[in-house]
């Protein structure tokens, strides 16, 4: 049973019990209240989340909120069920994934990931080229080399040729990038405890951890896109 602390009020249907997403007394769905993804699940804004419990709560809430259960209900209840379930699904999808969860929490803290991509989009529009990201300096050399190889493979593909040695080399690079991705995720998780235990008032401490995590996320994102490019060329 999930007990949620946010959005307490009286139930529209039975009028007595306190209600959250659904009434704890009569079980009817309630109109959605504004809540962030953490609050929707009654969780504190922390990065360490018990994912097994999150899944249990997700199933439990689905069994009470899903539109299938309101097939014969009044139109407004159907509407609420639809809105509540979409919020539930959005929240679960975000919180169960370590990267999405971290990005989401940082965004709640005012980090604007979109701004970077907006700037890149503006640039893309003015130059007429596809969006490009800033290469993390320590990756610069490897990336330059890899991009040359990818270009060569693309050309070969067009000509109908293939170069097994080069393919193997790029395949190896891909594996090493994927390992790097995993390492970066572990590093990111390393900061979770630090973030969660840093008190709200410690602004300086928080900014330091925040910036580290933003940096890690950007690097990981960059590598992820690179792996995607490699996969495209390798055809898997």
């Amino acid at each position: 049973m999930v007990v949620l602390a946010n959005g307490e009020s009286t139930c529209w249907s039975c009028g007595q019990m306190r209600a959250t997403h659904f009434c704890t007394s009569c079980g009817r769905v309630q109109p959605p209240a504004p809540a962030d993804h953490f609050a929707f699940f009654g969780l504190p804004r922390k990065l360490n989340v018990d994912v097994a419990r999150l899944e249990r709560d997700f199933y439990e809430l689905s069994r009470r909120l899903h539109p299938d259960l309101y097939g014969t209900a009044a139109a407004r209840e159907q509407e609420w069920s639809l809105e509540q379930t979409s919020k539930l699904n959005d929240a679960y999808r975000t919180l169960k994934d370590p990267i999405a969860r971290t990005r989401y929490l940082l965004r709640l803290q005012g980090v604007e990931f979109e701004e970077q991509s907006k700037a890149a989009t503006e640039k893309a529009r003015s130059t007429g080229q596809l969006k490009q990201q800033v290469v993390p300096p320590d990756l610069l050399e490897d990336v330059f080399e890899l991009n040359l190889q990818l270009e060569e493979l693309r050309t070969q593909k067009k000509m109908g040729e293939d170069d097994p040695a080069l393919l193997e080399e790029v395949g190896k690079q891909k594996l090493s990038l994927e390992t790097r991705q995993d390492t970066l995720l572990d590093e990111l998780k390393g900061y979770w405890n630090e973030w969660d235990s840093t008190v709200e008032g410690d602004a300086v401490g928080r900014v330091r951890v925040r910036d580290k995590m933003v940096d890690l996320l950007n690097r990981r994102n960059y590598i992820r896109n690179l792996v995607r490019d490699v996969n495209e060329v390798l055809g898997n």
Binding site: Y59, S62, R63, H66, P67, D68, L69, G71, T72, L82, E83, T85, S86, K87, N89, D90, Y92, R93, T121, E122, A124, R125, G128, L130, K131
Partner: protein, 633 residues
């Protein structure tokens, strides 16, 4: 409380079915020919009457220009999408089609949109169910391929509306199949559903957890199925005929239809035999005959069935699973009867696939299960809940023609995303949003879903308005968009231009048009309703006979009532609703005094603690099915 039955419908490329839950088990409702499968064939006969199913099938050969099959391939599609289909299928487009318009297909001199043609099929299924229940059926769950996009889903919903059916839910076919499979054994584990039908292919991977059917990933191809196998065989036959006899029959509709029929029979035979004989009568008394071995057949179809591999691999990848982590593989769709397809699935997932249920029926059975869940559930469906996903990412076009994905594929639905917009110039009153579906980076490579025009933005300096647009994919996989200007708090007006599909006004007018063809429905419905009313009055009369009031009638009155009762029983079994109504009315007149006497005695029994309901008919299990009064008089 309405206890109207909600049926499950599988609106298939080749065959369609309607099913319902009979107690604990879903069952298919047969047509008046006693067959479960209604071929998805529509024909216009010589009296300009629409025929559907087996009765329409002979027209495929006799008058191919007045019949149509595999219409599902055209649902929600535009002219430019279907150039390939037009080469392979005898679809006859209306002559006056404009680009950007919804397709219209000619049947004789008439032309219908794909949703209207699908509506004819749905109407037949509705009729079959109404005949079976002897009661109107107006609500249904309809299945769609999991990989159907928004336009294809919307077109299916429109077809339901045109057929006079309230579509309570669109359910993905592989997911529906898993419900039918999961009904008897509520176990936990990972299940892959491989669904190769007449025209579409889906792969869905689900996690079963204490009655929750959670789709983890799905993929597919909405233009891949048994039809494609038939087309390969037809092409070979046509080539042979041209080579051997010097006859080019590719433009001869009747000959192609005959060849199609023959190659389908051959294909089916080769699932159980190692060789089959293809034999087709051709014009001018000629004959095309040929032996085909299973080995040859398998070689021919290999490239087609191999096209199912990439979607399977992608679905596994999206689910983050390896083949050995799949606990069970379920086969759905008629094309999975082909041994080579089974072998392919077996080698891909490294296990023997499950084939316990009839692959032609399992989707409809699952739809019936979902219909019961939506109706409030039963003991058999207790704890069952379906959590499905959207098959394609939803994006919006941003500067530079790039797609910005806002809801990723395989997100559990309902799902939503919120975007903020502002204006570029002072006083700008409109903002245009282009919504796309697909996985590609560039907007031009994705499928255009609709263009939304936010209107009536209050005049402000550029960049000042803050318009929040909410994109919501509902449980049917269909997109809804709403907008609010946050500074003024006003809901912004949205004008939607669907890129493919009918506007609401068009659907409304088609519903009206469909009444021309609803003559039969109307009559059927009247008969059903009159019969139900007859059952009610006859039951009431039976009650009356048991009541003390009966004894107060004169013997002449009793005799007259018995005579009229007999008359009603006689006409009730006939199809003349006017006669039934007349017999009801006269019996009503004759029993007026009995009813009054009963009413008096009911009032007095009520005083001694009994209620009117008990004194009167009540709604016990033997009471007739409650039917709404006829809307038309």
């Amino acid at each position: 409380m309405s206890s109207e039955r909600i049926v499950g419908i599988d609106l298939g490329t080749t065959n369609s079915l309607v099913a319902f839950m009979q107690g604990k088990n879903p069952v298919v409702i047969p047509g008046d020919d006693g067959l479960n499968l209604v071929p998805s064939v529509v024909a216009l006969d010589e009296h300009e009457q629409i025929l559907v199913g087996n009765s329409a099938r002979k027209y495929l050969i006799e008058t191919p220009e007045r019949s149509v099959f595999s219409i599902k391939r055209l649902m929600g599609r535009g002219m430019e999408d279907i150039q390939e289909e037009l080469k392979l299928f005898p679809f006859r487009l209306a002559d006056d089609l404009h680009s950007g318009e919804v397709l219209r297909i000619k049947l004789g001199q008439k032309a219908f949109t794909p949703p209207e043609i699908s509506a004819f099929i749905l109407r037949q299924l509705k009729r079959n169910a109404e005949r079976f229940f002897n009661a109107p059926v107006t609500k249904a769950v309809i299945t769609v391929p999991a990989y159907f996009n928004d336009a294809q889903r919307q077109a299916t919903k429109d077809a339901g509306r045109i057929a006079g059916i309230e579509v309570l839910r669109l359910v993905n076919e592989p997911t529906a199949a898993s419900l039918a499979y999961g009904l008897d054994k509520k176990q936990n584990g990972i299940v892959a559903v491989y669904d190769l039908g007449g025209g579409t292919f889906d792969i869905s991977i689900l996690k079963l957890h204490d009655g929750i059917f959670e789709v983890i990933s799905t993929n597919g191809d909405t233009h891949l199925g048994g039809d494609d196998i038939d087309n390969v065989l037809i092409r070979i036959a046509l080539d042979d005929i041209r080579g051997d006899m010097g006859l080019d029959l590719s433009r001869n509709g009747e000959a192609v239809a005959r060849i199609r029929k023959a190659v389908i029979e051959t294909k089916i035979a080769l699932s159980s035999q190692t060789t089959a004989h293809l034999d087709v009568e051709l014009p001018e008394g000629k004959r095309y005959q040929r032996e085909i071995s299973r080995a040859q057949f398998e070689q021919l179809i290999q490239p087609i069935i191999d096209r199912t591999l990439a979607p399977c691999k992608q679905a596994l990848k999206d689910a983050g699973l390896k083949p050995e982590q799949i606990d069970e593989v379920v086969l759905v769709g008629g094309s999975t009867r082909i041994p080579k397809v089974r072998a392919l699935v077996e080698s891909l997932f490294e296990r023997t696939p499950h084939t316990g249920l009839n692959p032609d029926e399992v989707v409809a059975l699952g739809a019936a299960v979902q219909a019961t869940i939506l109706a409030g559930g039963s003991e058999a469906t207790e704890n069952m809940l379906l959590l499905d996903v959207t098959p394609l990412s939803l994006g919006i076009e941003v500067a530079g023609g790039v797609t910005d994905k806002i809801i990723l594929r395989n997100s559990t639905i309902p799902a939503s995303a919120t975007q903020h917009y502002t204006t570029q110039i002072d006083g700008q009153a409109n903002v245009a949003i282009h919504v796309l579906q697909g996985e590609r980076e560039l907007a031009k490579d994705c499928r255009s879903l609709a263009r939304f025009d936010l209107k009536g933005i209050p005049p402000m300096t550029a960049g000042m308005p803050r318009i929040e647009v909410k994109f919501l994919i509902d449980a049917n996989g269909i997109l809804h968009v709403s907008a609010r200007e946050q500074r003024s708090g006003k809901a912004a007006e949205i004008e939607v231009q669907p890129s493919y599909g009918l506007t609401d006004e068009q659907v409304e007018s088609m519903i009206l048009d469909s009444f021309d063809y609803a003559e039969e429905d109307f009559r059927q419905r009247q008969v059903i309703e009159a019969r139900n009313e007859a059952a009610t009055i006859l039951a009431a009369l039976e009650k009356g006979r048991q009541s003390p009031a009966w004894g107060q009638l004169t013997s002449a009155e009793k005799k007259q009532i018995a005579k009229l009762e007999n008359g009603l029983v006689q006409v009730r079994s006939e199809d003349d609703y006017a006669a039934i109504r007349k017999a009801i009315d006269t019996l009503n007149q004759a029993t007026m005094r009995l009813a009054e006497l009963m009413m008096d005695s009911a009032v007095s029994t009520a005083l001694t603690g009994k209620t009117m309901d008990e004194a009167d008919l009540g709604e016990g299990p033997s009471a007739p099915h409650p039917v709404a009064k006829a809307e038309f008089k």
